[in-house]
C-alpha cells in the first residue's frame, strides 16, 4: 500500500507540471500576452512615460524573456531545489532554497500572502457545505429508499434530478434578488463575508449597554447562508441518489434476508446492517465532492462577491497575472490530485477486496 501511495504521489509531479504548463502557455498565447491588460492600463500617460513604465515592468517581471524561459523561471521559483534568484533578476548558485510563489503583477504583493487571505474563505465555504450536503443527502436518500416506488420516492427522484439541473448562476441571482434585496425580503446580506462593523464586535453574540450584539461568529454565519445553499443543493441531490441506490442494492443482499429471517426489526435491519454497509460508497465519494465544490465556488464567490480563491482565479486570468494564475492552478490541481489519491486509498481501506499492489 505504501509503495502504491508513493508511486501515485510521484506521478502527480508530471501531471502538475502539465497542468501549469497548459495554463501558462494559454496565457502566453493570448493577445497582449502575459500581463497585457495591466500594461495597457498606462494609456493616460504620454508615450515616453508609458514606455518607461512598460520597460520597468518587463524588467521587474521578466516579461521580455521568451515564454519558455519565463515558465522555467517559475518552476525554479516554486521548487525547493534550484538556483538562487538575485535581486537584479539573474540566477545565482544552485542548491536548496526557500520555495516561493512569486509576486503578483496585478496586486504588487507576494502571491503567498494574497492566497493566505483567500484560501481560508474558500475552505470555510466548503467546510460548511460538505456536512450540509451529507446531512441532507443521506437523510433524504434513506427516506426514499425506505419508501421505494411510493409517491415520496417518485417525488424525491424527480426533484433531485430537477435540483441537479438548476444552474448555480440562476439560483444565486434569484436568492440575492428575492432574499437580499430591499424590494422583496431583506433577510440576508447580498455580498461579502462580514459587515465592516463586525470586525469590532466580540466573537460570540452577547448583550451590551447598547443592546444585543450579534457578534462576529453570528455575522459570518448570517452572511454564509445564501452562498452555502447555492453551493450545496446540487451535491445534496447527487448524494440522495447515491445513498438511495446503495441502500437498495444492499437491501436485496442475502445477509438482509438472514437478518429479517432472524426476526430483527426493520429499523435494526436498515440502520445497523444495511446503512453501515452502504456507508462505504458515501465515504469514498467525499473525495470527489471536494474538487466539484471548488469549481462551484468560482461561480458562487463571483455572485456573492466573496474574495476567495474562485474570485481571485477569475480576476487573475482576466488580468493575465502570471504568478497568481499559476499559483491558483497549482493549488487547485494539488487539491484535486490529492483527493483522487485519497479516494483510491479509501476504496482499498473500506473494501478489503480491493488491492493495488
Amino acid at each position: 500500500m505504501l509503495t502504491y501511495i508513493l508511486r501515485r504521489l510521484l506521478l502527480t509531479f508530471p501531471t502538475l507540471i502539465g497542468i501549469t504548463a497548459l495554463v501558462f502557455f494559454c496565457l502566453a498565447a493570448s493577445p497582449g500576452g502575459i500581463g497585457g491588460p495591466l500594461l495597457k492600463d498606462q494609456r493616460r500617460l504620454d508615450t515616453v512615460d508609458a514606455r518607461r513604465i512598460q520597460e520597468y515592468y518587463q524588467k521587474r517581471y521578466g516579461l521580455d524573456k521568451p515564454a519558455i524561459v519565463q515558465y522555467g523561471r517559475w518552476l525554479n521559483l516554486i521548487s525547493p531545489v534550484g538556483f538562487q534568484l538575485k535581486d537584479d533578476g539573474t540566477l545565482g548558485s544552485f542548491g536548496f532554497k526557500w520555495p516561493s510563489l512569486g509576486e503578483s503583477m496585478g496586486r504588487h504583493r507576494q502571491v503567498a500572502s494574497v492566497l493566505a487571505e483567500a484560501l481560508p474563505l474558500t475552505l470555510l465555504l466548503n467546510a460548511i457545505s460538505i456536512p450540509v450536503v451529507y446531512a441532507f443527502g443521506v437523510l433524504s436518500g434513506i427516506g426514499s429508499a425506505k419508501r421505494r416506488g411510493q409517491t415520496f420516492d417518485t417525488l424525491m427522484g424527480a426533484s433531485q434530478l430537477a435540483s441537479w439541473s438548476i444552474p448555480t448562476i440562476w439560483a444565486g441571482v434569484m436568492l440575492i434578488g428575492f432574499f437580499a434585496n430591499r424590494q422583496y425580503f431583506d433577510w440576508f446580506p447580498p455580498a461579502g463575508l462580514h459587515e465592516t462593523e463586525a470586525l469590532n464586535m466580540a466573537f460570540l453574540p452577547h448583550w451590551t449597554a447598547a443592546g444585543w450584539e450579534r457578534g462576529w461568529l453570528l455575522d459570518v454565519a448570517w452572511h454564509l447562508v445564501l452562498p452555502v445553499i447555492c453551493l450545496s443543493y446540487g451535491g445534496s441531490a447527487f448524494l440522495t441518489k447515491l445513498t438511495r441506490g446503495s441502500i437498495l442494492e444492499n437491501l436485496s443482499a442475502d445477509y438482509v434476508r438472514t437478518a429479517r429471517a432472524k426476526g430483527l426489526s426493520e429499523s435494526v435491519v436498515l440502520y445497523r446492517h444495511v446503512f453501515r454497509n452502504s456507508l462505504l460508497a458515501l465515504i469514498t465519494i467525499a473525495a470527489s465532492i471536494l474538487p466539484a465544490l471548488l469549481s462551484g465556488s468560482v461561480v458562487v464567490e463571483t455572485i456573492f462577491s466573496i474574495p476567495g480563491m474562485g474570485k481571485i482565479a477569475v480576476e487573475a486570468v482576466q488580468n493575465r497575472d502570471r504568478e497568481l494564475t499559476l499559483a491558483v492552478t497549482l493549488i487547485g490541481g494539488v487539491i484535486t490530485l490529492l483527493s483522487q489519491i485519497l479516494r483510491d486509498v479509501l476504496y482499498a481501506v473500506a473494501d478489503p477486496r480491493v488491492a493495488y499492489d
Partner: protein
C-alpha cells in the same frame, strides 16, 4: 434534433436496434417530456427570424406588396431553413440512413455556398423606420411577426423603455438596452441548441478516439494518454475555460470547440476501460487475423460493444455544455454580439441593489428547463440501455 442523436447507433448498426432503443426510451414519461421541450426549442431556433423580428412579415407600401423579413435573412438563417425542411422531407422516406444523411448533407452544402456568397443583410438596421412609416401611413397594410421586435431593436423611437417590467406589448419586459427580452430569448435558443450538440460531439469524438487508442494499444501510449487525461481532469474546468476564452476573441464556434476540448475526459475513460477488456476477446483477434484495417477494427468492431456508456454520457454532456456556456456568458467573458441566456441573466442584478425579476426569472428558467430536459433524456437512456446501471443508481 433529438431524434437525430437517438438515431446515432443507426448509422453503424442495424436499424432494428436503433428503433428498439428509441421505442424503449420513448416509453418513459421523462424522455417524452424532455424530447417535447427540445423539439419546441428546435422549432423556436429554426423559426426565430420569423417569430421575433421588427421586420414586417408582409407589407403593402406604394401599392406594392413586399416581405422585408425575407430580405433580412442571413446565410445562417437560410441554411437552417434548408436543413430543417430537408430533414422533415427525408425523415419518412424509405431510404437507408446512410443515403438520408448523404442527401441531407448534399442539400446543406448546395444551399450553403450560394447563400454565404450572395446574402449580405445590413449589419446595422434602423428598425424604428417601419413603425414610423406605419404611423405616417406610408405603409398601407402590414403583418408583423408575433413578437414584433428584433433582439437588436433598442426602441430608440420610444420614451425610456429601459428595464420595463412585463406588460402587454413586451410580454417578458425589456432589457438593460431597451431590447425586448422575449425576442432575445427566442434568438438565444439557437446558441443553446447548437452549443450543446456540437461541443458534445467534439468532446465525444476526441474522447472516443483517444480512449480507443489508449485501450487498444496499452503500454506507453496508454500511460501518456492517461497523464494527458489526468491533466484535463485535474484543472478546475471553469479555470481552463477562462484561460482558453482569454486567448481567443469570443466567438460561437471557438466557444464550442473550447467546451468540447475541455470535456472529453469522461468519454476517454469509459472507452479505454471498455477496450482494455475487449482487446483480447476472440472476435478482435479474428478481425485482426482477417487483415481488417485498424480504424475499422476500432470503430466498427470494438466501439459498438462499448457504445452504450458513450451515448448515455453524451446526453448528460449536452446538459453540462449548456450550463458551461451560460456560466461563461454570465461571468461576462462569453459571447458579446449574440444574445445568450447566461448573458441576459447577468443583467438581472443592477447596480445599487436593484433586482429586475423578469430578467432573472425567464432566462434562468429557460436554462434550467433545457438542462433538465437533457438530464431527463439521459436518465431514460441509461435506464433503457443499461438496466444494470439503472437499478444501481
Amino acid at each position: 434534433m433529438i431524434e437525430a442523436s437517438l438515431q446515432l447507433p443507426a448509422t453503424v448498426e442495424s436499424r432494428g436496434y436503433a428503433r428498439d432503443i428509441t421505442g424503449r426510451v420513448m416509453r418513459r414519461w421523462g424522455a417524452r417530456i424532455g424530447a417535447a421541450w427540445i423539439v419546441c426549442l428546435v422549432l423556436l431556433a429554426v423559426f426565430a427570424p420569423f417569430l421575433a423580428t421588427s421586420h414586417p412579415l408582409l407589407m403593402k407600401s406604394a401599392g406594392k406588396w413586399s416581405s422585408p423579413v425575407l430580405q433580412s435573412l442571413g446565410p445562417s438563417d437560410v441554411i437552417l431553413q434548408a436543413a430543417f425542411w430537408m430533414a422533415l422531407i427525408l425523415w419518412p422516406m424509405r431510404l437507408s440512413v446512410k443515403t438520408k444523411v448523404i442527401a441531407w448533407l448534399a442539400v446543406l452544402i448546395v444551399t450553403a455556398i450560394p447563400s454565404i456568397n450572395s446574402l449580405h443583410p445590413p449589419q446595422l438596421f434602423v428598425y424604428q423606420h417601419y413603425r414610423d412609416a406605419v404611423r405616417s401611413g406610408k405603409i398601407e397594410q402590414v403583418v408583423f411577426a408575433p413578437v414584433p421586435f428584433s433582439p437588436q431593436d433598442h426602441l430608440r423611437d420610444q420614451e425610456d423603455m429601459r428595464l420595463q417590467p412585463p406588460e402587454h406589448v413586451h410580454w417578458m419586459g425589456t432589457t438593460d438596452n431597451s431590447a425586448d427580452l422575449l425576442s432575445n430569448m427566442i434568438h438565444a435558443t439557437r446558441i443553446a441548441i447548437s452549443i450543446g450538440f456540437i461541443s458534445t460531439g467534439i468532446a465525444a469524438v476526441i474522447g472516443v478516439v483517444l480512449g480507443g487508442l489508449m485501450g487498444y494499444y496499452g503500454g506507453w501510449i496508454d500511460l501518456l494518454g492517461m497523464r494527458v487525461a489526468e491533466i484535463f481532469d485535474s484543472i478546475p474546468t471553469l479555470l481552463l475555460l477562462l484561460c482558453f476564452v482569454a486567448i481567443y476573441p469570443p466567438n460561437l464556434y471557438i466557444m464550442m470547440a473550447i467546451i468540447g476540448a475541455t470535456s472529453w475526459v469522461g468519454y476517454a475513460y469509459f472507452v479505454r476501460g471498455e477496450f482494455l477488456s475487449l482487446r483480447d476477446r476472440d472476435f478482435v483477434h479474428a478481425a485482426r487475423a482477417a487483415g481488417i484495417p485498424l480504424p475499422s477494427i476500432i470503430f466498427r468492431h470494438m466501439l459498438l460493444n462499448g457504445l452504450t456508456p458513450v451515448i448515455v454520457t453524451a446526453s448528460f454532456g449536452v446538459a453540462s455544455a449548456i450550463l458551461m456556456e451560460s456560466t461563461i456568458s454570465f461571468l461576462g467573458i462569453g459571447l458579446t454580439d449574440e444574445s445568450s441566456w447566461g448573458a441576459l441573466l447577468e443583467e438581472a442584478l443592477g447596480g445599487g441593489g436593484t433586482f429586475y425579476w423578469w430578467i432573472a426569472l425567464y432566462p434562468g428558467l429557460a436554462i434550467f428547463l433545457t438542462v433538465f430536459a437533457y438530464n431527463l433524456i439521459g436518465e431514460s437512456l441509461r435506464d433503457a440501455l443499461d438496466p444494470k446501471l439503472g437499478r444501481m443508481m
